[in-house]
């Protein structure tokens, strides 16, 4: 048996050599659209089955099909990248006083079954959310007292003065009263044959793929270019890159090589969709000391953290909770350098010294000689966060802090965050499109809960009467200029008091192809977020042009 042995060993060695050799050449993936998909049809990765689709188009359920967002419309579409409001089923709204909202309802809108859309439908939808609180995901009935209608308007009376609540209420999706009033139990209704006001209606539905067709009676039908949209249940990144998708929402590693390089006139736009930040637990020492937070902040090279997390595709975030550059107009111009904090280890050590920490033998120690040591909590599976945290660990390690990383499963991470049982935690903030909500959820002491009890927001447990006062004023401010000034002041609170340490922007990963349709949102024309879910796709779908139209 000796010789065969040697031969076999030889075969193994050559197999290894072959692997190494093959590794030298890489395979460029080409995008090849399915020729059976016509030019007027869009292939979109917006909805993922698990792995099959369930025929659920109830717009108030969390497990609905994504296309329900293209069938049911809100009164106002709020774009979260620019923070702009687009009048939709309402032509506008007014606040005669801070606790009354009057929506003027658009005339001439029809449901896809031909029945006219009326203010009654709006009032019915609001009532539905009251009757079935499980549908009220945004919690609009925490603000609404009563609703009344006229022929052209819907008037909402709020429980208390709250100007920003108007916007939240306006983004509720509206369903037809004439169909839903006869549904025996809406709370489990799967709405298999949706009737909406939106640009698309349901075409063929199968468990692995469905199509939606252009609604011929849509109130702005002339603006809708794509006749059909195909939504497959499985959209792996390999699928997206190889099968000629027109629109996808996904972070692809090496997007220039893997997506743009795949051909098919692929483009991408990754505008900021929120701020990824470190939440210090302000109930704990030493994080309750502003000097320590200043020291930690100044010791960070945020550019390196962002690059490491998002492969250099996302910008560093300023310490203002404002998404730049698309919300530039909302930024307080007096904040230096747009709120960007540059690394300065010298200054960081000065702050630490004020807090009682000094460097000794490469370690940052307190008066008793104990090294500053804490754990950063992040969620398992959120890989960009994890990579960012590892970079932070490296940078703080360099000035002598002992940083540990803990990455429990998402549910456990969420629980730790809500209960305040962490030292520092990664988290996302801002990016709702509403300045008030961005800051309210971050700073308001209304959300304050003792450690061990679940807080729904303000996880860092920040409490500052000045911030509370600003937020209270914001609720009363009908005047946009006044709102802007209050926004400036709130930014200054975040900038100066460091309730969180901003790191980098979380991206909205829009992948688009110019092969069949053009006019996608882009850095040059940032009219809407490139995301494929929620209501902003309505802005995109009514903005695209067919290529041969040009």
């Amino acid at each position: 048996m000796k010789h065969p042995t040697r031969r076999r060993l030889g075969a193994l060695v050559s197999a290894i050599m072959l692997t190494t050799g093959l590794a030298a050449c890489s395979i460029q993936i080409e995008s090849a659209p399915d020729p059976s998909i016509p030019k007027d049809t869009m292939l979109v990765a917006a909805d993922n089955g698990s792995p099959l689709f369930e025929r659920n188009f109830n717009p108030y359920m969390t497990n609905k099909r994504t296309a329900a967002f293209y069938m049911y419309e809100p009164l106002v579409v709020l774009d979260n990248v620019t923070g702009e409001e687009h009048p939709w089923l309402a032509t506008g709204y007014a606040l005669p006083d801070p606790s009354t909202v009057v929506f003027t309802i658009r005339d001439g809108v029809k449901w896809s079954d031909g029945k006219p859309f009326t203010p009654k439908d709006v009032a019915f939808s609001f009532d539905l959310l009251k009757k079935y609180p499980t549908f009220d995901l945004q919690g609009i009935w925490t603000y609404i007292d009563t609703v009344e209608t006229s022929d052209t308007t819907v008037t909402v009376h709020l429980k208390a003065p709250d100007v920003p609540a108007a916007q939240l209420i306006a983004t509720t999706l509206i369903v037809p009263e004439h169909i839903w009033k006869d549904v025996p139990d809406p709370s489990t209704f799967r709405n298999p044959d949706p009737v909406g006001t939106g640009p698309y209606t349901l075409g063929n539905f199968a468990a692995q793929q469905y199509t939606i067709d252009k609604n011929p009676t849509y109130w702005q039908a002339d603006k809708v270019a794509a006749e059909h949209i195909i939504l497959p249940a499985t959209n792996t990144q390999l699928d997206v890159a190889t099968k000629g998708y027109d629109w996808a929402y996904s972070f692809i590693s090496d997007v220039d090589g893997a997506w743009v390089g795949a051909g098919n006139k692929n483009t991408y736009w990754f505008p900021p969709g929120g701020t990824v930040a470190l939440f210090p637990n302000l109930t704990k020492a030493p994080f309750n000391d502003l000097n320590v937070r200043q020291g930690l902040s100044l010791a960070l090279d945020r550019k390196a953290v962002g690059d490491s997390a998002a492969e250099g595709y996302m910008d560093v975030a300023g310490q203002t909770n404002i998404l730049l550059p698309y919300q530039q107009s909302l930024l307080d111009p007096s904040i230096p350098d747009s709120g960007l904090v540059t690394q300065n280890q010298q200054k960081a050590l000065e702050y630490f010294a004020q807090a009682g920490y000094t460097q000794q033998g490469g370690k940052l120690v307190d008066a008793s000689g104990t090294q500053l040591s804490f754990t950063i909590t992040t969620a398992n599976g959120y890989n960009d966060w994890l990579k960012g945290v590892q970079e932070v660990q490296k940078q703080w390690g360099a000035i002598g802090i002992d940083v540990k990383v803990s990455s429990p499963q998402p549910a456990a991470y969420q629980l730790a965050l809500r209960n305040g049982e962490y030292d520092l935690a990664m988290g996302g903030t801002g990016g709702t499109g509403s300045i008030f909500r961005d800051f309210n959820s971050l700073l308001s002491s209304d959300y304050l809960k003792p450690v061990g009890q679940e807080a729904t927001n303000n996880f860092e447990r920040y409490s500052n009467p000045e911030a509370d006062d600003l937020l209270a004023q914001y609720k009363l401010a009908v005047d946009p200029e006044k709102q802007k000034q209050l926004g400036y002041q709130l930014q200054n609170v975040v900038y100066n008091d460091l309730p969180i340490l901003s790191l980098y922007y979380g991206g909205s990963w829009g992948l688009m192809s110019d092969a069949k349709f053009t006019g996608w949102p882009s850095a040059a024309d940032p009219y809407a977020s490139p995301k494929t879910y929620e209501s902003t796709p309505l802005l995109v779908l009514t903005h695209l042009k067919k290529v041969n139209d040009d």
Partner: protein, 353 residues
Amino acid sequence: MTSVTIAPGSADISAAPRITGSGKGRAWAYVARKAGLLLLTLWAAITLNFILPRLMPGSPADAALAKLAQNGPVSDATKAAIEAQLGVPTGNILEQYVAYLHQVVTLDFGVSYTFYPQSVSELVSTALPYTLVLVGVVTIIAFVLGTLLGVLAAWKRGTWLDTLPTLAGSFASAFPYFWTALLLLFFAGYVGRLFPTSGAYGPTASPQFTLGFLGDAIYHAALPALTILITSLGSWILGMRNTMISTIGDDYVTFAEANGLKPRTVALRYAARNAILPNLTSFGLALGGVVGGSILVERVFGYPGIGYLLFNAVTNQDYPLMQALFLMITVSVLIANFLVDILYGVLDPRTRR
């Protein structure tokens, strides 16, 4: 659990069992004892299935919220709404346990948290056929093919018919399942474009009993099936080969040979027939494990079977779905185990002690 769950089972049986008669009463006592143990184990497994998901930190609502929170701040009311939508269990742990036992007895596990408002039975009945056919058929093919190759290897010992399958088999069964799956998917699916890359049937098709659909379904099952076959064939070959080699040396085989029977007759009629017994045990248990599907393979190929469902249930902390699936898998493995034990008791009375 994946396709080939080869438990040692009652592997302590002689390779050449002798079937002898014995008192009927003793036989029934044996069956009764085994059945009693089965029921006890079943209860313990059911209880464990109840406890396990609750050991995981965080609740199903936390899992759902963590997903939402990635897209931005979650509003105040959202958590309450989600909890209400999911029907996250209320009441103390004892009440939950009683409710759960009731569900087990009535086989009604209620509504899934992850796939609300779909019921657990709806989900399981959709996924089960795909897993049963894919994993079941492949397990049978792997067993038959592996056993035949194993017999051949033992019979033609030392020749290439022995060396090749044994070495290739042990190498292939050392591949991580998902890795084999990924490579097959990439090269046969994306580069070669020979096979579909996901799903159980064509994107626009819907399940029905026609020849066309069947062909489509087989075409879609090809790559996952190949993955399971490649990675599981080896252990069947090795198992059969080694028992067979031992049997060939047994006295009665030598005796048969000395009596002038043809080598092939000896190999197949005497040696192989007796050597197959321990492998049959493993086969029974492997079939019991089939309902668990193949998590990794189904995940890679986006195959809508039980494995995929189980993964979703576990990662989303979907208690009702997890409990139902765990129960289904445990029960079928237990029953397979029980049947194998009984079978052995019948075939080899020595084990009844």
